[in-house]
């Protein structure tokens, strides 16, 4: 303590202000929009998992890639593999979606967005939260957010597979709109994945002497630039993956059927 003053207990109180916030701007818009967008994504995700039309050559819907069981159509399998075998008959997306889903769920940006919009903790800066108690990420289950890096490793794989899917589509159908959609999506997914805070930490963030590791420092500088755009990339890649997925399914269902689809 650098300052001790004669105790006068009556003066050790906060200013009594009854309202939750004195903010006069429309602070509730951002959490509301976030809430709506994230909810839409969840709803779409559930539908997409249950939906069976995830493949039409050469496109595979991103939510169902990689397809790892024999229940997948031949062309939809990753490198033609089916390591899971034939006992698995549930939707293929269910097998792998936990990985990109977990990556986003534990992502430092998404945490902010759902803590604010779903849990209202806090709904906006300087707006009182409705909870009586708060322990943050100090205990189970939220302490599990610390394994974000493992989801990052998985997300790198998923990003590579989606890129591979997109390139495959480009090779087979360069004139197809779907190929381009998948390509744009793959770029955004990879950019979002690389812009991750864990990635930044792993490249060189954990070091204290950048000057002794020039290559890692270079990588860190690059990732840091991407990291500054983590939030926009999170949204852009979320909408792009949703859009690309929907597009492939609509083509597969024959709803979209123009020549260069």
């Amino acid at each position: 303590m650098t300052q001790t003053t004669p105790d006068a207990p009556v003066r050790r109180q906060r200013a009594q202000i009854k309202v939750r916030t004195l903010r006069t701007d429309r602070w509730w818009i951002a959490p509301l929009l976030t809430f709506l967008a994230l909810t839409a994504f969840l709803v779409y995700g559930v539908w997409a998992i249950l939906d069976g039309s995830y493949f039409i050559d050469p496109y595979i819907a991103p939510f169902s890639s990689p397809c790892l069981s024999t229940s997948c159509v031949e062309g939809a399998r990753l490198f033609g593999w089916a390591p899971i075998g034939d006992w698995y008959t549930l939707p293929p997306g269910l097998l792998i979606l936990g990985l990109p889903g977990g990556f986003r769920l534990t992502c430092y940006y998404y945490r902010k967005s759902y803590y604010r919009s779903f849990w209202l903790s806090p709904p906006a800066c300087a707006v009182q939260e409705p909870h009586g108690k708060y322990t943050g990420e100090t205990r189970f289950p939220l302490i599990m957010q610390n394994i974000h890096r493992y989801f990052f490793y998985a997300a790198i794989l998923i990003g590579a597979i989606l890129s591979y899917d997109a390139i495959l589509a480009m090779v087979h159908k360069p004139q197809g709109l779907g190929s381009w959609i998948l390509l744009v999506n793959a770029v955004l997914i990879v950019a979002y994945t690389l812009s991750c805070h864990s990635c930044r930490h792993i490249t060189a963030g954990r070091l204290n002497h950048f000057s002794k590791h020039p290559l890692r420092y270079k990588a860190w500088t690059f990732v840091s630039k991407l990291n500054a755009k983590h939030q926009p990339l999170a949204w852009a890649s979320m909408f792009s993956v949703m859009g690309a997925d929907l597009y492939v399914r609509l083509v597969a269902k024959g709803i979209i059927a123009f020549p260069f689809a």
Binding site: T2, Q3, T4, T5, P6
Partner: protein, 632 residues
């Protein structure tokens, strides 16, 4: 409102008043020498005015140019101060500054680096080599934070060894000292009040170090913050110490003049260094009309030549915008007085028509930010308005160079509140190093003084009662609003004892100050004792008026122009005046007397560091004859 609360009492070995760079460094030294130390600061811990320093701390480490050494730094300092400096202080300062900067690094400071990992050093006006250790343009903040964290580190040590972090060093934040107490001739303590509660506090201590900074708040346009009310100057005077060089005040030529909220805030010199030009309301680059004869051959006479200098410094002379601070300040002042000023009473400083927008943002990020956020002015598209601003007082408590001791036993001073080190004009970058070097020396001086005491001076209850009565007086007295009195003092000093002084105007100022003294005695503050700014100002006014009287009286007496003192009626520098210091003191605490005192001649081994030609510009013929004797 209770009228007689108990005054809390604390016993310390050393009480440091002021928690800027000098105060903290002094306190750290006293504590490191085992003294029980109190730090009393008017604001919160870590908010002192030192945070405003931008450029850096001058120290001849020779990291960028290995030719630099203490002798070069010493010469630069003496030259900057026009040879009026206390040469022993300038010597100690030049010799010890590097150690003081390195020490900060060991306490956690992170200066900008050179390629080989040493502390980087930058060029600055008046310094022959790149010499300023810096952190971007926030060096003062780094310095104060480092010292603050050093104090905390010492407290943590004490926690370990004594179980009490405040056993040996304690910060009394938002606490203002109003009187120093004496036992006979010697200091016995200090009396003050807590801003927070309005309760009184008494320090029983044989040694007091003043480190209260400057007096800028006596002027309307100033780069100084509200705390700069000359407290230490006044406390020293009232305790019987002497002030020297009070006529020398540095006005920085380019302060913001608009918007009103930031009037006086500095616009860094590098704006001009990077191509910014000064224009009047007619659009003329007026500085070409103000090149003094002594500089005629060193500065460009046409705009074309001046413009070429930025790209080719070898074959062209520098533009007159880069004349020394005092010359530029006077020129701007003259243009405004002649009615050619900008709408808000300054002149235009334009960099927007000189450099591409991207270049401006790259070279002057903080200025771009400062004008954007504070004035809503985009300096890449429009000119700034600037004018001179009261920046620093060279004068202060007369101290012993080696120990910081003032004439009163037990009283010490360091930093801006002390006088002598900078002579008549301070070089940029020398203030931060001054704080460190003389803060440490004053802390050590105080510690040694306490060690040498046979008996501890006693606090007299009568003096405490007097101080209490004085402090409480304005509260609840139905007198004049202190803010009005303050404004009048500021206007008077700004207009009549500003950059350019005339005998009649200064005399007029003295009359006004005399009347203000009366009014100060009668100001009243409404409200309670709890955090009452009106009351605090009423108390500060005593100090401001006393110090303003010193400035005015000394300014009237010194009949020459030198550094931070320009007399319209005595425009030249006079070697006879170089040997004389003006010393202020007060007998009754109500009025100030100013006397001449001879400056001791420079030590032989120091004076021979200068060329004869240079000395002959400053020294009298008699002194030159002596010099010729020495240098043979």
């Amino acid at each position: 409102m209770e009228n007689s609360p108990n005054t809390e009492r604390h016993e310390y070995d050393v009480v440091v008043i002021g928690a800027g760079g000098a105060g903290l460094r002094a306190a750290i030294e006293a504590r490191q020498q085992g003294k029980r130390t109190a730090i009393v600061c008017k604001s919160l811990f870590g908010k002192a005015h030192t945070v405003m320093a931008e450029g850096g701390a001058a120290a001849a480490m020779g990291n960028v140019n290995s030719d630099d050494n203490w002798m070069v730094h010493f010469r630069d300092t003496m030259r900057g101060g026009k040879f009026l400096n206390n040469w022993r202080m300038a010597e100690l300062h030049a010799k010890e500054a590097p150690d003081r900067v390195w020490e900060l690094e060991a306490w956690g400071a992170l200066f900008d680096r050179t390629k080989d990992g040493k502390i980087s050093q930058r060029n600055f006006g008046g310094h022959e080599y790149p010499r300023l250790a810096h952190v971007g343009d926030r060096t003062g903040l780094e310095l104060i934070r480092t010292l603050q964290q050093r104090v905390v580190a010492l407290q943590q040590e004490d926690q370990e060894t004594h179980g009490d972090p405040e056993a040996f060093i304690k910060v009394f934040a938002e606490c203002t000292v109003t009187r120093l107490l004496k036992d006979g001739d010697a200091i016995s303590g200090a009396f003050g009040y807590w801003r927070e509660t309005g309760n009184f506090i008494l320090f029983d201590a044989p040694a007091v170090v003043l480190a209260t900074g400057g007096i800028g708040k006596s002027y309307v346009v100033t780069s100084n913050s509200w705390e700069y009310t000359g407290d230490g100057h006044a406390l020293a005077l009232l305790a019987g110490a002497k002030l020297i060089n009070m006529e020398f005040i540095q006005f920085h030529p380019t302060g913001m003049v608009w918007p009103p909220s930031v009037r006086g805030i500095l616009v860094t010199e590098s704006v001009r260094g990077d191509g910014g030009v000064l224009r009047n309301s007619k659009g003329e680059r007026f500085m070409f009309d103000y090149i003094p004869d002594v500089f005629k051959d060193k500065y460009a006479t046409t705009e074309e030549e001046g413009d070429r200098w930025y790209t080719d410094q070898a074959n062209n002379r520098r533009p007159p915008e880069l004349l020394p601070r005092d010359e530029v300040a006077r020129a701007i002042n003259a243009e405004v007085k002649a009615g050619r000023g900008s709408p808000q009473g300054g002149v235009f400083l334009d960099v927007s028509s000189r450099l591409p927008a991207e270049e401006i943002k790259r070279r002057l990020p903080s200025m771009h930010h400062q004008f954007k956020e504070l004035a809503d002015v985009d300096i890449t598209t429009e000119p700034m308005q600037v004018g001179p601003t009261c920046h620093y007082i060279m004068g202060g408590v007369e101290v012993d160079a080696d120990t910081g001791a003032a004439a009163v036993p037990g009283l010490f001073a360091a930093g801006e509140v002390s006088g002598g080190m900078h002579g008549s004009n301070r070089l940029g970058g020398n203030s931060l190093s001054d704080l460190l070097v003389f803060g440490r020396r004053a802390g050590g001086g105080a510690a040694a003084y306490v060690d040498g005491l046979a008996a501890r001076p006693a606090v007299s209850p009568e003096l405490v009662e007097e101080a209490r009565a004085e402090a409480i007086a304005p509260l609840g007295r139905g007198g004049e609003n202190p803010y009005e009195v303050h404004h009048e003092l500021q206007r008077t000093m700004n207009e009549l004892v500003g950059i350019i002084r005339k005998a009649e105007e200064v005399a007029e100022a003295m009359e006004v100050v005399e009347k203000l003294k009366e009014r100060v005695r009668l100001v009243g503050a409404a409200g309670s004792r709890i955090y009452n700014p009106g009351w605090h100002l009423a108390i500060d006014l005593r100090n401001m008026v006393l110090v303003s009287e010193c400035v005015a009286k000394a300014a009237l007496k010194r009949e020459e122009s030198r550094g931070g003192h320009t007399r319209d009626d005595f425009p030249g520098m006079n070697p006879a005046w170089r040997r004389k210091l003006l010393v202020c003191s007060t007998g009754d605490g109500a009025s100030v007397t100013v006397e001449e005192q001879e400056q001791p001649p420079m030590r032989d081994d120091l004076i021979v560091l200068f060329e004869r030609d240079e000395l002959s510009k400053y020294l009298t013929d008699e002194e030159m004859t002596e010099f010729d004797g020495i240098s043979k």
